[in-house]
């Protein structure tokens, strides 16, 4: 899922300082699961904004709600009434959600309350690992189900590098070496000879280095 992290409270307070009617909007999908921008987090941030305003002796009306998916116009359209009564929107969605709200309500300033950090795999409650970078050309069938693009600090296609120490990454010893994991997985599966297959250089254009990407499923497009 998409993982987000709430910006520091001070930063959010600074952004919203000039406004008196603030609507905080959460998203009920990825960032709810990643505990950053769901109903609970909307309530917490709304409460903090109210406390800060009253501490400064300002009259600020803060309301909050969470839509099912902030990345879809159908859901964001339902905010219309509340947006009309607000002079600022604080979005607790990923960057996509913030942009959808900004596009649909251009007259009201929209502030991001989260930093969208990554696509993450929850290893335990409230801990996520970046196991995929959306490179656009998946190859994990060759690497025992471990992605070297996301999980190798050097994004090596033919690893490991010389820096691996006891299965740990040379960049940070708290990170597993992806290529050590690949080796162990392939060995356990009896496919160790796959390690010696040389992987050709990748086409990084489809990984986004050639500008923003667009995905179209032609047969489903409604014209």
């Amino acid at each position: 899922m998409i993982v987000g992290e709430r910006k520091p409270i001070n930063e959010i307070l600074e952004m919203t300082k000039p406004f008196e009617r603030i609507h905080v909007v959460g998203c009920g999908t990825c960032v709810t699961i990643s505990l950053a921008g769901g109903e609970k987090e909307v309530d917490i941030l709304s409460s903090v904004l109210r406390i800060a305003a009253r501490r400064q002796g300002r009259e600020v009306k803060v309301t909050g709600e969470t839509v099912e998916r902030q990345c879809e116009k159908e859901w964001v359209g339902a905010l219309k009434g509340k947006v009309r009564d607000s002079d600022a929107i604080v979005s607790m969605a990923c960057g996509i959600g913030v942009q959808v709200v900004a596009e649909m309500y251009p007259d009201v300033p929209v502030f991001p309350a989260l930093n969208t950090t990554m696509m993450g795999y929850p290893t335990q409650h409230a801990v996520w690992l970046e196991n995929c970078r959306a490179c656009g050309d998946c190859m994990v069938h060759l690497t025992g189900g471990v992605c070297p693009i996301a999980r190798c600090a050097k994004q090596m296609m033919n690893g490991p590098c010389g820096g691996v120490q006891g299965g740990r990454c040379v960049v940070d010893s708290s990170i597993d070496c992806a290529w050590s994991l690949i080796y162990e997985r392939l060995k356990a599966a009896g496919r160790l000879e796959w390690m010696s297959k040389i992987q050709p250089p990748r086409n990084w254009e489809i990984a986004g280095s050639f500008g923003p990407r667009k995905t179209v499923k032609e047969e489903e497009v409604i014209t």
Partner: protein
Amino acid sequence: MATEAVVSSETKTEANEAFQPRIVAFCCNYCAYAAADLAGSMRLNYPPDARVIRLPCSGKVEILYILRAIEDGADGVMVMGCLEGDCHFLNGNYRATKRVAAAKKMIAATGIEPERVEMFNLSSAMAAKFGEAIKDMTEKVKRLGPSPLRRSVTK
């Protein structure tokens, strides 16, 4: 200037002595709440400023509970859970400790003194410690003075 400062500080101290704090105490059913019961049976004296809210475990405390109490004008918030390692639900008190720390940070960012929120650990047999905790918190909150939000509520 120095004289003014002394006078103002004296006035503040007098005002704080007259001030009756409103403290919300979230108490775990298995320790602090039972300790409060015991303190009652033992006829122990402690300040009457804490409003006790019984919870099944201190791990039930959400950051939002603490924020709402502050928002509604509480001068102090206590979260009282079991001794470390003694939680009836294994680690609820550790979770509460982390949430209290997070709430303190948020409150500090808004300009409210984070000392208004504290975590306490005790067992059901510690009636005297329960009384002491309420007394300590009451004294601390009296030193801090009324919550700025409470003042704005009463305006």
